[in-house]
Amino acid sequence: MCASISASMSAGAEQRLIHSEKSLYRDVFVYEDGRTRCLCFTRLCAIGRQTCIDLAKPDRLVFEYTQMMLGALFLAPAPNTILVIGLGGGTLPRTLARLLPDADIDVVEIDPAVVDVAQKYFGFRPDARIHLTVQDGRAYVRAALRGSKRYDLIMLDAYEHQYIPEHMLTREFLTEVRSLLVPGGIVAANTFSSSQLYSNESVTYSSVFGRFYNLRSGNRVILAANGPLPSIDEVTLGSRRFTAAFEPYGFAASTLLPMFSTHPDWDLGARILTDQYSPSNLLNGRP
């Protein structure tokens, strides 16, 4: 379940419901407004759109957060094994597969209804390189740890403004994610923390990964490493490799660079989230 609000998307033509899918979790709606097609968990996309594609240019990354998530490639330019937790419309795995022809991508999604919609309306296709598992993300990570497979890049895209899976925002979970990374492997998280949770989330990531890159602009994307964090010079160098590659997706690698910050702009004394203490959704609503 990936997610984003995009202010630029809210204007425009009347939106039309083209499909709704019953779900064990939340019903999935597909809306079109003439220019874009969006996947939402609420009628009329009242509380945010999860995925949108540009009908004329389906490759274009409509949401800034997906672009920010790809900033992870500046830290690890050629990941061969990638895990994406949270499918949404499948934009991230689809784009990663095109950008990285040698990469093997595992995708985990909890909701079979989301998988159906992503396949029917957003062109998501599991194939020899994209493997899909319908499972809770944390259960998948724990099971994977018992095996021998490790990942160069893990993308966490399971959070949204309406609901945060609390067991996937704890020190223990992030430690498991870190253990599932190869040395030097990168984790990218599209998080939906606002208000008080922002600080709790920050100190929780710090407690597991130390310093990390914090990309903010409406959304928040955290980029952290299993090992020393690549310097901003290395990141800049990495970004140059994608100048041409990002073009078909409608943005420039260089626009992401100014967002990379390691400056802690949160309350350092905030309480770390653990399996024992994880009221993320309650904290997210607090000013």
Binding site: Y25, I110, Q135, R138, A139, H167, D275, Q276, S278, L282
Partner: protein, 198 residues
Amino acid sequence: MYRVLLFLIAGWSGFFVMAIELLGGRLLAPYFGSSIYVWGAIITVFMLALSLGYLWGGYASLHAPSLRRLALILLAAAAATLPVLLWGDCLLEHLSALIADPRFGSLAAATLLFFLPTCISGMVSPYAVRLLVADRASAGQLAGKLYFVSTAGSAAGTLLTSFYLVLYLEVNQILLLLLAVSALVGLIAGLQPRAVDA
């Protein structure tokens, strides 16, 4: 005092069961996730345990029922929760490695951890009804009052735990708090002089 204690035990037992049920979901989530199956398994186990507890509590009330024995039931339910605190994580770790399927894994985990304390908690209401009722005419009214108190206690336990307790305390701290209150209520009721028994 006698009646107040009966209602207090029933109300607290309702609170206790729902608080544990909510915390159960949090305890299982790291191992089996928080998919709908996990919640389904937890609720199934609690309902089944309660239903058998009602049956058992009714039978138990046939033999020399007393406030003191009711207090013992409450204390036994608290004691049966101790393994959750002591060995919960260890058991969940092993079970999740043993049974990968989240449906059967969480069913097994919820059964092992929560069936016994919930079943014993279920004994409380029918047993308390027996102690309350003196004649047939008032039986329905008293049973109604008891269900009211017990279910209102469950509502309070659900709300307080999910809205407030998890915001301030760790899961194990909440469990300890619940056990402490059970012990307190159980001891107060258990140490009443025998004369008050009907």
